[in-house]
């Protein structure tokens, strides 16, 4: 029996964004990453091009994480005091596509370190790995506005991804990214309209739209994932229908959010009915990630190597034709 034709043609396409610059392009990266390019619903390539594969950025912190559960700390325990070694391990051993360097140490409550120290950290990580870098501020606007200019300048030409610009605080970061040749994360609080607004505000400053990655503050599995899921799905559908202000790659902060869940971090003795912590935590992060993939995520910030491995397998499967 013949099946009705249900192929849909979409008019829009997700803008292609490039992370990392090679020597020829003015940087020092050996690997660069392209995002976007999709003109169909995620992975439904019988009606279009699914675009570039989603990528995994593993988080590297510039402070020793204090509240991580043992299961999460274990794979990094030899490297947590050296961002450089930590980043190397993520790329060489755990297969990270890129590194998200989180500059927590400059936060007033987490060490209040100087901009010089942050610059040194960024430089050491850039030297240690060949993949592109996300540089994420400490989310304290005052310190970020002070530190990010120095950091951005130190990475001039590397085409990093700097985070994050909000509706209330975007000018400094947009200007930096423009001047130093970086890409920019624009952030919204699980709200399509604010996301669109901040994208427009940023481009109004003269910033090119093809250097923007969108970030709706992620909710983990069990902790609001459905809100983010639907917001991202709406953004992607808007993109495919031709809304260029939302036709941009999407970033999710999967690792940090997942490991805040008690289902992920509870120790065996605290949750005897939930099964082994060493499997449970990584799977919680994995399922958060693969669910968000279905809503159109392009960059997943992740933590546990086991989760990274499982999500990479799934991405591979979603791009593999057996039929």
């Amino acid at each position: 029996m013949e099946i009705p034709n249900i192929v849909e043609r979409w008019s829009g396409e997700v803008t292609e964004v490039t992370l990392g610059a090679t020597k020829e392009e003015g940087g020092t990266r050996k690997k660069i990453i392209k995002l976007g390019g999709a003109n169909c619903i995620p992975y439904i390539d019988f009606e279009g091009c699914p675009g570039h594969r989603p990528v995994i950025a593993m988080d590297v912190l510039d402070i020793v994480p204090e509240e991580w559960p043992e299961v999460l700390l274990e794979p990094f325990k030899e490297v947590v005091s050296s961002p450089r070694e930590w980043a190397k391990k993520c790329v060489e051993e755990y297969g990270a596509d890129l590194i998200c360097l989180k500059l927590d140490s400059v936060h007033p409550d987490k060490g209040n370190k100087s901009a010089e120290e942050a610059v040194k950290t960024v430089q050491s990580v850039l030297q240690a790995v060949e993949v592109p870098l996300i540089i994420w501020g400490c989310d304290d606007p005052r310190r970020d506005n002070e530190v990010m200019p120095r950091v951005s300048q130190a990475a001039t030409g590397e085409r990093c991804l700097l985070a994050s610009a909000t509706q209330d605080n975007y000018k400094t970061l947009a200007a930096l990214c423009l001047a130093d040749g970086h890409n920019l994360v624009t952030q919204a609080p699980v709200d399509v309209n604010i996301q669109k607004q901040v994208n427009i505000l940023v481009t109004d400053t003269g910033f090119p739209v093809d250097r923007i990655v969108m970030f709706q503050t992620t909710g983990a599995l069990g902790y609001g994932i459905e809100y983010v899921y639907s917001i991202q799905e709406r953004e992607r559908l808007a993109a495919l229908s031709g809304d260029k202000w939302l036709a941009l790659p999407i970033l999710c902060n999967v690792g940090y959010e997942s490991w805040r869940a008690k289902e992920a971090k509870a120790r065996d003795e605290e949750a005897p009915g939930w099964g082994l912590a060493r499997e449970r935590g990584p799977l919680w992060e994995t399922i958060t990630a693969v669910t968000l993939l279905q809503s159109g995520a392009d960059i997943l910030r992740m933590l546990h190597p086991k989760a990274v491995k499982a999500v990479k397998k799934q991405i591979e499967a979603l791009y593999t034709n057996n039929a």
């Binding site: 899921y229 799977l283 994995t286 499982a310 979603l318």
Partner: protein
């Protein structure tokens, strides 16, 4: 696809007789299209038109009921492709397989584990729905024996899996009136299988390796008088299965294509314990009716049940917790007291952070009709009077002696008014729940505890 008002108008007598209470036939047609009127209200409509309208108004995806007493699962009758368009109605069934090839002892202990797969989350119990008995032995006597054990050993709904109508028939003896899903129907055995399903009034699970073949098969089975079907497209790998599920959903909703207008069932085949759940979660998000797992460890099942719970919440209704005073940990009259809203996401973020601080705390969930702190404040659902009322309703002044209330940092502006209204000391807490552990450990310790 549903008929438009104009399509319906063409089927009406077009006499504008007003017997239905509407001024014109067109007005009646419009109300029919919006499901605000019933065809029966027109006394003059022809039988043929009635049938045409009846068929068109049947849901595009058939509702299928599995189980009778004990746990009952209803799947199907979905209206949308994306949850934000409306909502997803019937959460997919989560099934765990058990083989008839296990020894008695193995079978009992496995079943005990399967029966235990339920958890408490955000004040609700989440649980698997089905046990799927496989006829791995290939022996109908063994299958029937296992069915007997299963029938007495679980309250969960059941799937009986075999391609042998004899085996299914023998097993069914032990499931009288329990309405299991009979799975294993294909283009070769559909006649005896359909006969069984019809006799015993059971839903039937049908599989094929192409959508075309599947559509043909469901039509043949419907012609034999069985209408409650669950369909299984045996795809080649995760991407192909995702494509199949998407095509089935679209055919039903966009084209009103009846041969595929049924809920689906998908068996997870991956040997890797993570990938099995990864794929199951993907299908829960994208159009599964039932997923059947081989695995049964709580750490595998809990995240899957959570995905289902999350994806199937109503996006138009904020999820609320009961507005009341919650006690986290062993609270005393010296414990900190803070308030937040009864929007479940807000409340559970706060509760989670308080728990992780390990400082026993009172959390007052103020009724803001399930809105977040800022939304409630700007909509005047959260003000000093609302908070004061919630405090007295919860008799907070009898629970703590310090008369100090920690308020969300986002509504610091209401401090003065709240102080005036209640006479309590108002301490401004962090703006984000994530700041609570350090707030409770330091600021509260310094300013809150002591007078």
């Amino acid at each position: 696809m549903a008929l438009t008002g104009l399509d319906i108008y063409k089927l009406l007598p077009k006499t504008n007789c007003k017997k239905c209470g509407r001024p014109t036939c067109l007005a009646f047609a419009m109300q029919l299209a919006q499901k605000k009127a019933s065809v029966e209200e027109c006394p003059d409509i022809s039988e043929a038109s009635k049938q045409a309208l009846g068929a068109a108004s049947a849901p595009p995806i058939k509702l299928v009921t599995i189980g009778s007493n004990g746990r009952v699962l209803q799947i199907g009758e979905e209206n949308v492709l994306f949850r934000h368009e409306e909502k997803f109605y019937h959460p997919p069934g989560i099934a765990v397989a058990i083989s008839d090839n296990l020894t008695d002892k193995e079978f009992d202990s496995r079943l005990q584990k399967i029966n235990g797969l339920h958890f408490q989350r955000v004040g609700t119990e989440i649980s698997i729905d089905l046990v799927a008995l496989t006829n791995q032995s290939g022996d109908k006597v063994k299958f029937a024996q296992a069915a007997q054990k299963l029938a007495s050993g679980t309250k969960l709904a059941t799937i009986l899996i075999s391609e042998s109508p004899e085996a299914i028939g023998a097993a069914l003896e032990h499931f009288a009136k329990r309405r299991p899903l009979l799975y294993g129907t294909n283009s070769k055995n559909y006649e005896p299988m359909a006969k069984l399903a019809k006799e015993k009034n059971c839903p039937l699970g049908v599989y094929a390796t192409s959508l075309e073949e599947l559509a043909e098969l469901t039509e043949k089975i419907k012609a034999l008088g069985v209408n409650e079907l669950v369909i299984d497209y045996k795809g080649k790998g995760p991407k192909d299965v995702l494509h199949g599920l998407t095509k089935i959903r679209r055919c039903a909703l966009k084209k009103n294509f009846r041969p595929l207008g049924f809920p689906t069932i998908t068996f997870l085949e991956d040997e890797d314990h993570f990938q099995e759940i990864v794929q199951a979660a993907t299908y829960v998000a994208k159009y599964a009716g039932i997923v059947v797992l081989k695995s049964y460890e709580p750490w595998q099942v809990m995240p899957l049940l959570t995905v289902r719970q999350n994806i199937y919440t109503d996006p138009q209704k904020p999820v609320q917790v009961q507005p009341k005073l919650y006690e986290v940990g062993q609270v005393t009259e010296d414990s900190p007291a803070l308030f937040t809203t009864n929007f479940s996401l807000t409340y559970y973020s706060v509760e989670g952070e308080v728990e992780s601080s390990r400082i026993p705390t009172y959390i007052l969930a103020v009724n803001t009709e399930g809105t977040s702190v800022l939304t409630a404040y700007s909509g005047d659902k959260l003000n000093e009077k609302v908070v004061a009322k919630a405090m007295s309703a919860a008799q907070l002044e009898e629970k703590v002696k310090h008369k100090k209330l920690v308020i969300p940092g986002l509504v610091a502006v209401m401090s003065a008014k709240l102080r005036e209204e209640t006479g309590w000391d108002i301490l401004v807490g962090p703006k984000e729940a994530a700041g609570l552990p350090s707030y409770l450990k330091t600021t509260w310790d310094k300013h809150g505890k002591k007078d």
